[in-house]
Symmetry: C2
Subunit: 600 residues, 2 copies
């Protein structure tokens, strides 16, 4: 990538157990930004004093308990007609069952919602083709709603719960009141994908513990890794979300902890939920660009299994004769299976391109398998085309525009979990390795272009969008902008209106920042005073960000051109504190400071 | 950089107001690791439950108040005989006046010390040539020891304070008892560098507010940016630290807040502190590889000024006739000046190579100036050789082995503060831009090789070490390793010894983690129990790290092969919590989980 040239694609990658989103340019594989999502980030003023960002983080607290990290798994770009539209990004927190909304005008997190009925999640976020809903799928079954039940009541009391977070595009927020959940059996639902085109209105999730294993190696019982791998088949979950939406509107849902829940009995009986057998301990249910096929990779089976949506519909119409022990109708495997393609060891996740090829990660083989789709996609369908070794232990993979109805081809990124010897040793904790792969040539001609170490958490999944679909702001539209409301704050400090006001023991400050000074430069209060401090960056030049550090008070702000922000704290410590600009904004940036003096 | 090839150099860069250290490979300019230092990092298990890492962070609390971020400025590699030895890295926190120690065997932070007498700092860390001391220089003057004094008592009550943290290489820790501070006038001391070879035993710091400006734009007074720029000359601080050490040992220091302090009067009278005039609002005092010259860049003066250490010694021997208003002897400018070289607008910081060239960042010109040293370095000395435009607004720069007595040449990195249009737009908050420059050709032939966006805070300064000088561990030496003690923990869980013990309402767990299960997989306690939970990763393969997430309790651990760690908390919430491995350690990593059940 020559100096000064801009990237063609932008990849939004999960930041794994760092709790953030990584923004990476393609093909340069350069890390352009880390977006603070579930974890406070002092350098971007996220969760270090700013009231606006603290409000976002507190939206994700669990029953009032602070949670300041997340395990981000599956970023999902908002879609219009099944195409990424570049407006919003959603991402889940597996560890604490939460979902975050990022506005792609300023690349900042605007909302975190806590799932009130789940302890953890996994298969989310995934969006419906017009972003009506952002789907948060479950992982490890627990009693619904943080209740206690002993593990030996697993079968009766533990459940999966999948959430359909209704998204209000106008407000840029999840609307909890219109959202709903579906109770599922305590199989470990894993990854989901939304139907599109012919299958719009449906979603599909794989699952991995239909054995109902509950571990207990310390008691001489099989550990989870063995207990969950006993059956040859698990269940692909097939969910009619439009039908579910109708049932919710018809009042068939029960409100549990503030959200509407369709009970398992209801969805099993009313044609919302169906199962199809799937081999074996799979990880990934991926819908082909036309919505006509669903691909499942069974990590303990060398094949991918392809289901036909039409055959699923036919089997449902015919009427399934079998049910699982929770009363959910099971479709016959041979009725719904379109093809099985043998790829190698440990197939996990599948992506698509514009040539009718599919790409499946092979964890145990440390390889990417390219294979051809049949049906309308390619004449020579359902066969392995070639394998490319990657380094090492690939989890997910991401293709350019790969989850849309019209993937781009060109580039594929392998998200490898181990790097071992690929990079200079930096201690026992190794970076991950994201490898850029050229997939523009046909057949078995795939080529690794670049190894990108990720020395910051373990990216789980990523989506790649054409750069020109994004329309970010260079600076905030107007001076005094509140990025949470995405509107001018009428109370924002403006140039010439700076002041300090005292009301009783509350001191309120309206301050501006401009290259290269704050106004005011001296703020004096008394110990015990309550301080409310507004700051506006009145600079309008691109990249003219100012920082604000207040020593001893754990406060760090980053204020972009036009932005206004507010901090609030008790001056509980007497002394002389030096606030200063943490961004090297000008030749005299070291001189951009002031004295906050607290009288004893 | 071809796939699989390892880097020749490792750059340790400040992570700016992110509070971390960035580890970057050269020449690939790939981010290999972010080391958690002042800010908790959930993905590396730093400050998210682990008792060992919490103890490190608490060492940096300010008078008991939690501080969970820092503004890292100047990383300093440990040195032996003036060469980087690859053992330790030090970095300061400008915002809160702290210093951190990182052990380069495992690239983890082992200690944070809070400066008890300063609110903020800047010119640190810098090491003496055998790492006897890590120097933490001041920035904005305040009353010593967090005391209150109004701004209008600035001249009388406000002071600078420079700290010499004694380093115990054996223990890998700063030894506060042997450390000392020196009181300085309330000029804003800025950047420091240690003398080496002929000047070993001395240090040099520039300063920027000998005007004693106190701001007050809101009162109609000159803002700091104007008030601090009134004089044509500031003072280069020349400090004889070996003499200071003798005075401390001779009992001439006063203990203030637990640390020995040499008072200004003492150091002014006893030949510890001297001033030399320096033009104008400089940023940087950099000692040439031989220790013979000190280079100061005056950001409001187009020249760099070069001081001769021999001339400084001669002037001191002759006896300075002038003093500043605090009684500090001032050397005559013409007596100590060796040369002035006109470079351009906004010279800040200077680095050196193996050809006798110096490189100075020009902030306002957005350029790197290469110029020749005279004296023993080059025949054609003290002249500008060429300038290379960089993009944009360069602050510091770093050359390969650039702060040692024998720099390598080859590579220079420009740490540019603004990127503006260099990268795809990612919202109003822009990345920084680190540019790799080839300096292997002579004269004006410098060439930009690569633009590296830094989408994570603002790197301030960096040091670059030969990769083969580092000897990091691939895995911890033995199973049950405590990374804080760097020794086996006799209480660490070992395979076959896993157990759960109850003592009253305390439940203690000894757990192991191995691909792909924890043992035990079920932990049951009662609400209100106090839980002590030890976990050892008994895997021995390189890169076989396990994670440990506990939902709802804000706990995230990363446990490298052999490592043991401990968490401790009150089970204050009943329910079923699913702990699981956050690192994709094997094909069945999703199954690596357990149930933590809390009876109501
Ligand atoms: Cu996954
Ligand atoms: Cu600096």
């Amino acid at each position: 990538m020559p100096t000064g040239k801009l990237d063609d694609y932008i990849m939004f990658s999960s930041g794994g157990q760092g709790g953030q989103v990584l923004v990476i340019g393609l093909p340069s594989m350069r890390l352009l930004k880390v977006i603070g999502v579930f974890t406070p980030e002092p350098w971007q003023g996220y969760g270090y004093g700013s009231l606006e960002t603290q409000a976002v983080l507190e939206g994700g607290f669990a029953k009032g308990k602070p949670i300041y990290w997340g395990d981000t798994h599956h970023p999902a770009l908002s879609e219009t007609n099944g195409e990424y539209d570049g407006q919003f990004l959603f991402i889940n927190d597996k560890a604490n069952a939460r979902l975050a909304v990022i506005d792609l005008r300023d690349f900042e997190t605007k909302q975190i919602v806590k799932n009130p009925n789940a302890i953890n999640d996994h298969g989310g976020g995934f969006v419906t083709p017009n972003t009506e809903y952002v789907i948060e799928g479950p992982q490890y079954a627990t009693p619904i709603g943080w209740e206690y039940a002993p593990v030996d009541q697993y079968k009766e009391k533990y459940r999966g719960v999948i959430t359909f977070w209704a998204f209000d595009r106008e407000k840029g927020r999840v609307d909890v009141a219109r959202s709903f959940q579906i109770e599922l059996p305590p199989y470990w639902q894993d990854l989901c994908d939304a139907g599109k085109k012919v299958s719009e209105g449906w979603i599909f999730c794989n699952s991995i513990n239909t054995e109902l294993a509950t571990g207990g190696i310390e008691l001489g019982l099989p550990p989870f890794e063995a207990g969950t791998a006993q059956r040859d088949m698990d269940y692909l979950h097939i969910i009619n979300w439009k039908k579910a939406e109708e049932l919710v509107k018809a009042g068939k849902a029960e409100t549990i902890n503030g959200i509407q829940v369709l009970r398992l009995e209801t969805v099993a009986q009313e044609g919302v939920l169906f199962f199809a057998p799937e081999p074996k301990s799979p990880h990934g249910a991926d819908v082909a660009p036309g919505g006509d096929y669903i691909v499942v990779g069974g990590k303990l089976d060398p094949h991918v299994t392809v289901y036909s949506f039409q055959k699923i519909q036919d089997a449902i119409a015919k009427g399934p004769t079998e049910k699982d022990e929770y009363g959910v109708p099971i479709l016959n495997f041979d009725d719904v299976k379109e093809a099985q393609v043998e790829l190698g060891l440990g197939p996990l996740h599948t992506q698509f391109d514009d040539q009718g090829y599919a790409y499946t990660s092979l964890f145990l083989d440390s390889a990417v398998a390219r294979w051809s789709l049949g049906g309308p996609y390619r004449q020579d369908g359902w066969k392995l085309e070639g394998k490319l070794p990657v380094h090492y232990n690939i989890g997910h993979l991401a293709a350019a525009e790969g989850d849309t109805v019209s993937p781009d081809g060109k580039y594929l990124v392998a998200l490898n979990k181990w790097s071992i010897d690929r990079f200079a040793l930096v201690g026992p904790l190794h970076p991950q390795n994201l490898q850029l792969i050229d997939i523009s040539q046909p057949g078995d001609k795939m080529q690794i272009l670049y190894d990108m170490p990720i020395g910051i958490a373990e990216p789980h999944y990523a989506q790649i969008i054409k750069a020109d679909k994004l329309q970010p702001w260079e600076v905030y539209p107007e001076v005094g902008w509140d990025p949470l409301k995405q509107a001018v704050d009428p109370n924002a400090p403006q140039a010439g209106q700076e002041r300090i006001e005292r009301r009783g023991n509350t001191v309120e400050i309206w301050m501006t920042a401009v290259r290269s000074h704050y106004k005011p430069e001296r703020v004096e209060v008394k110990k015990g005073d309550h301080v409310i401090w507004h700051i506006t960056n009145v600079d309008r030049a691109r990249d003219a960000t100012h920082g604000f550090a207040l020593p001893g008070y754990n406060i760090s702000l980053t204020i972009e051109p036009g932005e206004t922000t507010t901090i609030e704290f008790d001056a509980d410590q007497a002394g002389v504190f030096t606030y200063y600009c943490t961004e090297f904004c000008s030749a005299l940036h070291l001189e951009m400071m002031g004295y906050f003096t607290v009288q004893p």
